[in-house]
């Protein structure tokens, strides 16, 4: 009965195929919506799947939730003169993607420390801790021992691959730190940030762990010989320099740039360890690096975080962009025939959101997409797996019924209208908004999102009729007044291209990212 039903339905569908195709009217078949979508399936059927990669590049947009991707994609298109919705950020054209659950072991809504540890070590852990498992007690140095995880960067080093870590945040900040450090607290960026008991207990600050990476790894695994992280670039000079004005860099903005209270100059220590390495602190130094011959690079381009992309021109000594750092890193790392693992973080998308300033969050996301494109252009898709993801989301929404092509940073203008829609309070409203945070501010042409922090929270509805909400200094309205807008707990996305990319699919836990890297590079194979 059952098999006969199948047979019958097969015959019926064979007969119907040509007839059914004819059912489609021309208006449907000739629609570019129709044919373009059909082509997507054709392309997917033609996809080939290689499992093993020579190189892996992991991109992390800090705080880059799905709504951030959608809004940034529209902004990118509108900056190019299009309506925006139809476009894609570079990595959104990658053939594979997955939906990623971000919670930490002890937190529904996570932070970057716990999430990056999961991605780079394969193990979910607690909020606020770096490179250690959930048995850690945050802030307690004594609980670190025995709970240290091994990161993919360490495994790649042991395997003889070249490694790189790039961020627009401080290079000691949670996301980059999780690639090379073990710490009971993400804030132990230098020795002055640690309680005395932690220093006495033998815990090492994060900046020091970066400089001592090679030595520490060889001590943990006697008999191995690694050559250290080839490329580390980002901000955070303050954690590498002594608290002494004599060590100030050319573009110090504090009276005393360094924070270290142990009198160590880690940039000098790094240079002494890697005598042929290059330490750079500005754009000129960065540009002067010859990627074909450089073996080791430490770039610290800001006292703290690097500038927002929109504010980058305001840096005194000049900073490279994320895409420039990415290209340079690849050019250096690909000198190794064994391959490389590169981790690139856009660290300040998160900060733009925390400030309730969509402008900077989105412009940094657009630059992040450029960096991914630069990586795709500089690598062979047959041998390089590129993974693009976020660590967590933000309480950022795209709301109302704006018409197609309406400026994404603008006020809602409905379909068929040229005037901003009015809410029931009689006032216009923006498409983009935050559930919580500092709320409305109109700082006009101010491109530094953090300028808001001088002002008390200003939640609730404001009359923005006369305000240019597309200006860099506009901060979106919010409902719940908090001094800082918060992370959100919903899933984020993972986009993949290259050997092993086809394994990125479905809804996965965040620690699966490590296993994607491991599978492609065979880090643990004998």
């Amino acid at each position: 009965m059952h098999s006969r039903w199948i047979l019958r339905s097969l015959i019926a569908s064979a007969l119907a195929t040509s007839a059914q195709a004819a059912v489609l009217p021309d208006v449907q078949k000739s629609s570019s919506w129709y044919s373009n979508a059909e082509q997507v399936i054709t392309n997917k059927l033609a996809q080939t799947t290689k499992d093993k990669a020579k190189n892996v590049i992991l991109f992390v947009g800090d705080g880059m939730g799905i709504s951030t991707l959608t809004a940034a994609r529209i902004l990118q298109g509108q900056l190019a003169g299009q309506s925006g919705e139809e476009g894609y950020l570079s990595f959104e054209t990658f053939p594979y993607s997955a939906q990623v659950k971000t919670y930490n072991v002890d937190a529904q809504t996570p932070d970057s420390a716990g999430t990056m540890t999961a991605m780079i070590s394969g193990v979910k852990t607690d909020v606020g801790v770096i490179g250690v498992d959930e048995d850690i007690e945050r802030g307690n140095c004594a609980t670190v021992k025995g709970n240290e995880l091994v990161s993919a960067v360490e495994l790649a080093e042991i395997r003889g691959l070249s490694t790189g870590v790039v961020s627009t945040a401080r290079i000691t900040h949670a996301t980059p730190a999780a690639t090379y450090a073990k710490s009971a607290d993400r804030n132990w960026e230098d020795v002055s940030d640690m309680p005395e008991s932690a220093v006495a207990g033998g815990c090492e600050d994060i900046a020091s762990q970066l400089v001592n990476f090679e030595k520490n790894l060889e001590m943990r695994f006697p008999g191995i010989d690694v050559d250290g992280i080839e490329v580390a670039m980002g901000g955070g000079r303050r954690h590498f320099l002594p608290k002494d004005a004599a060590f100030n860099s050319a573009d110090a903005r504090s009276e005393v740039e360094g924070d270290r209270t142990d009198e160590r100059d880690l940039t000098a220590e790094w240079q002494a360890t890697y005598s042929s390495g290059t330490y750079v602190m500005d754009k000129a130094g960065f540009d002067a690096i010859d990627a074909s011959t450089a073996t080791k690079v430490l770039g610290l381009f800001n006292e703290s975080h690097m500038q927002y992309e929109a504010d980058r021109a305001n840096d005194i000594a000049g900073e490279p962009s994320l895409s420039e750092m990415t290209s340079k890193a690849i050019d250096i790392l690909d000198n190794n025939d064994k391959g490389y693992l590169l981790v690139v973080e856009s660290g300040r998308i998160d900060h733009g959101h925390h400030a309730g300033n969509a402008y900077n969050a989105l412009y940094d996301t657009v630059e992040f997409a450029k960096a991914v494109q630069a990586a795709a252009d500089a690598t062979d898709p047959e041998e390089t797996l590129i993974l693009v993801t976020a660590d967590h989301s933000h309480v950022f929404t795209i709301a109302g019924y704006p018409k197609r092509g309406n400026p994404i940073l603008g006020k809602v203008v409905s379909v068929g209208s040229d005037e901003p829609s009015l809410a029931s309070d009689g006032m216009p409203y923006t498409t983009l908004g935050y559930t919580n945070g500092r709320g409305f501010a109109d700082l006009g042409s101010e491109t530094n999102a953090d300028a808001i922090y001088g002002i008390d929270p200003n939640s609730g509805r404001k009359d923005i009729s006369a305000v240019d909400t597309k200006a860099p200094g506009f901060h979106q309205e919010t409902t719940i007044p908090l001094s800082s807008e918060t992370h959100a707990g919903e899933d984020i996305s993972l986009h993949a291209k290259g050997p092993g990319a086809h394994l990125a699919q479905g809804v996965v836990e965040q620690n699966v990212v490590f296993h994607l890297i491991n599978q492609s590079l065979g880090l643990l194979n004998d």
Partner: protein, 274 residues
């Protein structure tokens, strides 16, 4: 940023008056005496100035100072007449200037870098912690002028000199300005570039706001030592970048800031924001 456990070990801050009366009369060795005022003998670079501010006309005060306050992030700028008088202590040490509110135990500390960037750190003595703001480029010179001298440069230059009394370091220049809505009377200590008194009268309702210098210490030795000690005390406190506040919900002080903002952070000291 240090975690709370190490904060406990830090010494409680000494009150400002105590500090000033218990100074050893020593000059720090090796300090350079840079000055940009050209009036070195009058010492405008190291000083401690106590002011009393009274806000009879809170709206006018807010209006005339809103821009500067918003830019510099001055807390408690929009108080109404419920809190009509405040003490303000201004401390100068070369390119660093602090505005200290003794009642709230909050200091706003600015540093003007050689690149004309202003770095602002706000210290909460009660919590033994500071918040550091990313430097802004100096958009207009009058902003730094306000930080250093409590009056915006463009306001000062728009006023007309009516008379000059005293001489040398004691010189007082009397300025006045009348606009459509307000009258300004300024007694300006030109050698130290500080108001001795600034009175702003609202012509509509006759209400006045007053900034009155109550005590000035600018002795070469004593003021320099006092400024050094006070800044050193503030500098010893752990600070957090404001950009990082949102990621520090586990730190009780920063969590309070995340949840309630600056105003909430001062509630325990009995101050109620409205």
């Amino acid at each position: 940023m240090r975690p709370p456990s190490s904060m406990m070990k830090m010494t409680k801050s000494v009150s400002f008056i105590l500090l000033l009366t218990s100074l050893p009369a020593l000059v720090l060795a090796g300090e350079d005496d840079k000055t940009d005022s050209g009036l070195q003998s009058c010492n405008a670079d190291y000083l401690v100035a106590h002011f009393e501010q009274s806000f009879g006309d809170s709206n006018a005060y807010a209006k005339h100072h809103a821009a500067a306050h918003a830019f510099h992030g001055e807390a408690h700028s929009n108080h109404n007449t419920q809190e009509s008088a405040q003490e303000l202590v201004l401390v100068r040490k070369g390119q660093r200037v602090a505005h200290y509110n003794p009642k709230h135990q909050i200091a706003n500390i600015w540093y003007l870098s050689k690149h004309n960037q202003q770095q602002l750190t706000r210290v909460f003595e009660q919590y033994q912690q500071g918040i550091e703001y990313q430097s802004d480029e100096l958009k207009t010179p009058s902003q730094w002028h306000y930080v250093r001298s409590l009056i915006k440069q463009d306001l000062l230059t728009s006023m007309s000199l009516e008379q000059t009394s005293e001489q040398g370091c004691q010189q007082v220049k009397h300025y006045a300005l009348e606009t459509a809505t307000h009258e300004y009377q300024l007694k300006w200590l030109s050698a130290v570039e500080l108001p001795q008194e600034l009175v702003v009268t609202n012509k509509d309702n006759g209400q006045t706001n007053r900034l009155q210098l109550t005590k000035l210490e600018n002795d070469q030795v004593v003021a320099k030592q006092a400024a050094h000690q006070q800044f050193a005390k503030w500098d010893a406190l752990p600070t957090t970048d404001y950009a990082d506040v949102g990621d520090n919900e586990n730190n009780p002080f920063l969590a309070k800031m995340i949840n309630q903002g600056f105003s909430g952070a001062t509630n325990q000291s009995g101050h109620h924001h409205h």
